[in-house]
């Protein structure tokens, strides 16, 4: 395997962005640059599908590993994937073209710059999921702040400046501690190479502090209660496409980080802090679900529901069971699809009616029947109806939780009911009910490009809801391996203590 397929995946969007930067469009509308961006992102999607096809699902090793000397002597540029990362990469490459198709609905000024920002963002996001070196990971993880800051700040709503600053500073503050931890790991073990660190392990006495440093970064990014407050602001003010990227992929970086680094590198500390994560996750699930019930802004409601869903994810990861972790990964993929779809759906009505307030809508089913159908599918996906991806994720997580701690699992199950409540209530208020607002009558049903993007999201949500095997198949071996290493480390450590 000599062709650097992962680096191509990472670099291709950047090359596209450079291409767009240096081409001048004859018409002022930059249609051509949009096609370039779409072409590049679709090519990247196909490339990632090919990667999935040639990927050996039964192997637990990292595959397609590239290892180049980079920072002379101590940090190598190392990328590689296992069964967990490949799904996130495909999610990224799948969501990006959808974003680019939906761009013309919401972005009116400086389209060219926006496309560049999205493509650069894609580079960083893929980089996060590929990197097998802590420093490289940090680099991609942090670099994503720059394009996202600009996306929120330039193309956002009224309070965009506040939201962009909040997003940037919260995330940066969380991350700098992770940088300290990464450098400390380098001096403790002599390497930042993840594979080597898995083998070497980190001494138990350092693990708690290092775990907390990583946790501070991932908790902000997830986001976990009580540092979730940047998310509703960022979501509400970001343009539709920005919200989609944020919800679908950026939040997953942290969940991925938990599995890859917190569990993988600090098993003892993870065991120590399990209860902390449980409690924070439960608060996130119950509290933010209640908050979501009270929201009057659609985007804000979905943002809070994201926090609740991510609460399930963190809960599942720290059950340390095969089902729990697989469920979390599945839930992240599912949430990536569903929340992206929900934000796009909100974008559809926002673009026509220019408000996100729920009480301004009602009775859309009679004038927008197609919209009502797809929106229903997404709503059901979000509340976890059997037959959608949402169900499988939540079900597996709860299974894992019941195995470990019945009380926690029971409280978490309440969250499922609350989730159903706020989602169905949202759906009822927007799509059903009486049409009190006469202005709504002029709203048109879905346009062609909206049908394309939304149905592109409906298909995987239903398909993997009924037939999760392809996804499960590819994560199974890697999750099992992660857990084995985790338990092995724990037992070893206990043996040392005795």
């Amino acid at each position: 395997m000599n062709f650097p397929i992962l680096s191509s995946l990472i670099l291709l969007p950047t090359i596209g962005a450079l291409f767009i930067l240096f081409t001048k469009s004859s018409s002022g509308k930059y249609q051509s640059s949009k096609y370039v961006a779409l072409f590049i992102s679709l090519a990247n999607f196909l490339l990632s599908l090919y990667l999935w096809y040639v990927f050996d699902k039964n192997s637990v090793d990292f595959q397609f590993v590239e290892n180049r000397e980079w920072l002379s002597g101590f940090v190598n540029y190392k990328v590689g994937i296992d069964g967990i990362s490949i799904l996130f990469i495909i999610l990224t490459t799948f969501i990006t073209p959808i974003c680019i198709i939906s761009v013309n609905a919401t972005i009116t000024n400086r389209l060219k710059d926006f496309l560049i920002a999205i493509l650069i963002m894609e580079t960083f996001m893929i980089g996060v999921f590929c990197s097998l070196d802590l420093v490289v990971f940090y680099l991609f993880f942090e670099a994503g702040l720059i394009p996202m800051f600009l996306i929120i700040g330039i193309w956002g709503g009224e309070r965009r400046v506040y939201s962009a600053f909040k997003f940037f500073l919260y995330t940066l503050l969380g991350s700098v501690l992770m940088l300290v931890a990464i450098i400390a790991i380098y001096w403790i073990t002599g390497t930042t190479d993840v594979e080597k660190l898995y083998e070497l392990g980190i001494q138990a006495k350092y693990q708690n502090l290092l775990w907390l440093a990583f946790f501070s970064s991932f908790a902000v990014k997830t986001p976990m209660w009580p540092v979730h407050t940047w998310l509703p602001d960022a979501h509400v003010e970001a343009p539709t496409v920005g919200s989609v990227l944020l919800a679908a992929i950026l939040l997953k970086m942290a969940g991925y980080g938990f599995i890859r680094f917190s569990l993988g590198l600090f098993p003892i500390a993870s065991e120590n802090f399990t209860m902390l994560v449980y409690v924070l996750s439960l608060i996130a699930i119950i509290y933010t679900s209640l908050v979501a019930l009270m929201q009057e802004d659609m985007k804000k409601l979905i943002a809070y529901s994201s926090v609740a869903h991510m609460g399930f994810v963190t809960l599942g990861i720290f059950t340390m069971t095969q089902q729990g972790i697989e469920g979390s990964i599945f839930q992240m993929i599912s949430h990536g699809l569903v929340s992206a779809a929900l934000f796009l759906s909100v974008g559809v009505v926002y673009e026509r009616h220019h408000t996100r307030l729920i009480n301004k809508y009602g009775g859309l089913v009679s004038i927008m029947p197609r919209y009502a159908i797809v929106f229903m599918v997404f709503t059901l996906g979000a509340l976890g109806l059997p037959g959608t991806t949402g169900f499988i994720g939540e079900f597996l997580i709860l299974m894992g939780a019941f195995e470990k701690n019945i009380l926690v699992a029971m409280i978490a199950s309440l969250g499922v009911i609350l989730g159903a409540a706020y989602m169905l209530w949202l759906f009822k208020r927007v799509v059903f009910g009486e049409m009190n607002n006469p202005e709504l009558k002029s709203m048109k049903d879905l346009k062609t490009f909206e049908i394309i993007t939304l149905s592109a999201l409906v298909i995987p949500i239903l398909f993997f809801g009924f037939y999760p095997e392809p996804l499960m198949n590819s994560i199974e071996a890697s999750v099992e391996n992660t857990l084995n290493m985790y338990n092995f480390d724990l037992i070893n450590n206990l043996a040392l203590k005795d």
Binding site: E69, G73, I146, F165
Partner: protein
């Protein structure tokens, strides 16, 4: 006599200075000519230094003058940035009517002084170099003498700098008194035993040096002088004296006072933390870009000093890497500043950047890159600068310093983001002129590309710097 070819660069530049003075006296309206000649002489000077830089450590003149890897590297970046400073400022000084023969000559003499400082291995030689560069800088700061702010900054710098030089001299005399030598190596040998005299000497010398590098709590002059001086001089202030002062810092701490690191380490850590925090917090309220960059440079010096506080070769190297990347970022920032020109007037308030990105996409993109880099966001060069420093700091288990430093970057990120917000999110104002001189464009292009593409091959600087070992 055969030693003389080792200091050929210094001799060359002294001869140039005298020659240009003569030309200036006898030939009328020769300001532009001298400016260009000075620039050429700087290029030749750089070539001469690079030519000598392959040599080993060489002591000259009774071991009072030292040429080694440290001095060579520092001189190269010093003269290199001097060339770019001259290139970027050439149009500016014409526009604000400062194109006089003294200007380039003063810059050259100050560079000569700094070169002597960098190479000195003796308290007296060091002080000579220091004063040569300071005297030239006093005049440069007040060069725009019809401007109230400029005269004020010159005077302020002169008074405070004279005070700090006094303290420094007192420290030197104490050190001499208790170690019986002015030679750095001899001081190291003679000061094996602890005594209060030398400790006082160290403190006074550090105070003087901290003043030159504008580290808290001796930073008071920096904002006023940065704002008041002509922008081209501010750029000079922001880079060259810092390089010279940092290398003198390294020299003092690791040659004569190497045995007493338990005495000075706490001081350096304190100065470093104070500068990082103060620079970050005080810059938040600023409205003038030059003033803001003054505070930003204070906090950057804090990071550079954090590397020195580690008492390790890695730390010294990280500081040197830091200052190298810092100078490029400053060059890029000031090049952008020189481009904010409309109707023969330069603009330097943050508000003047409002909505810049609509009419000047390339300029604002460069500023975006520079500002994110100054804030230390990966994958830009500024991140690597901080990264190296923190690697060295954490190696010595100085976690407190590392965490404070990194938290200060978050605070600092706020004001850099504020500028970006004004450039990108705010409504646009009038357009600026788009025709600029070639030197300015080249400097901006080179420095922006350097910052942006640094991550592709980050080992370049570290490999060169790794030759510099002091311990």
């Amino acid at each position: 006599m055969e030693n003389f070819h080792y200091i050929l660069p210094e001799i060359f530049i002294s001869v140039c200075i005298m020659l240009f003075l003569l030309v200036g006296v006898f030939k009328k309206n020769s300001a532009s000519l001298i400016y260009n000649l000075s620039n050429i002489s700087l290029v030749i000077l750089l070539a001469l230094i690079i030519n000598l830089s392959s040599l080993d450590t060489i002591y000259l003149f009774n071991e009072s003058y030292l040429i080694d890897n440290l001095s060579n590297y520092m001189k190269i970046i010093l003269v290199g940035s001097g060339i770019f400073v001259m290139l970027t400022g050439s149009k500016y000084i014409q526009v604000i009517n400062l194109n006089k023969i003294e200007y380039p000559i003063l810059i050259l003499s100050s560079i000569l002084g700094m070169m002597i400082m960098i190479s000195s291995n003796d308290l007296i030689v060091f002080y000579m170099g220091l004063e040569l560069q300071s005297l030239a800088l006093y005049v440069l700061a007040s060069f725009n003498r019809d401007n109230l702010l400029s005269t004020e900054s010159g005077l302020k710098y002169f008074v405070l700098s004279a005070l700090s030089s006094g303290l420094l001299l007192y420290g030197c005399s104490l050190t001499y008194g208790f170690s019986e030598s002015t030679n750095f190596d001899q001081i190291l040998i003679n000061s094996t035993e602890f005594n209060y005299g030398t400790t006082f000497g160290i403190v006074f010398i550090l105070v003087g040096l901290a003043f030159k590098i504008s580290a808290v709590p001796f930073h008071m002059w920096a904002p006023d002088v940065y704002q008041g001086s002509p922008t081209s001089v501010t750029l000079f202030f922001a880079i060259l004296p810092k390089i010279a002062a940092l290398s003198v810092f390294i020299k003092f701490l690791y040659t004569p006072f190497a045995n007493m690191n338990d005495q000075w380490q706490t001081i350096i850590i304190f100065i470093s933390i104070a500068s990082m925090i103060f620079g970050a917090v005080a810059a938040i309220g600023q409205k003038n870009l030059k003033r803001l960059i003054a505070y930003s440079s204070i906090s950057h010096m804090g990071y550079a000093l954090a590397g020195l506080a580690t008492v390790s070769n890695q730390g010294i190297q990280s500081s040197i890497t830091y200052i190298s990347i810092y100078l490029v970022m400053n060059l890029a920032f000031f090049s952008c500043l020189f481009m904010l020109k409309r109707d023969e007037k330069y603009y330097e308030n943050i508000e003047d950047l409002s909505g810049l990105s609509k009419k000047h996409p390339i300029l604002s993109f460069s500023l975006l890159i520079v500002l994110f880099s100054l804030a230390g966001i990966p994958p830009l060069a500024g991140f690597f600068a901080k990264f190296y420093v923190f690697i060295a700091v954490i190696e010595q288990s100085m976690y407190f310093l590392a965490i404070v430093g990194l938290l200060a970057t978050v605070v600092a990120a706020f004001y850099y983001l504020r500028i970006i917000k004004i450039i990108y999110f705010d409504p646009e104002k009038e357009e600026y002129e788009t025709s600029h001189n070639l030197g300015l464009k080249i400097t901006l292009a080179i420095s922006t590309i350097f910052i942006l593409a640094y991550f592709i091959y980050p080992s370049g600087i570290t490999e060169i710097v790794s030759k510099i070992t002091m311990i």
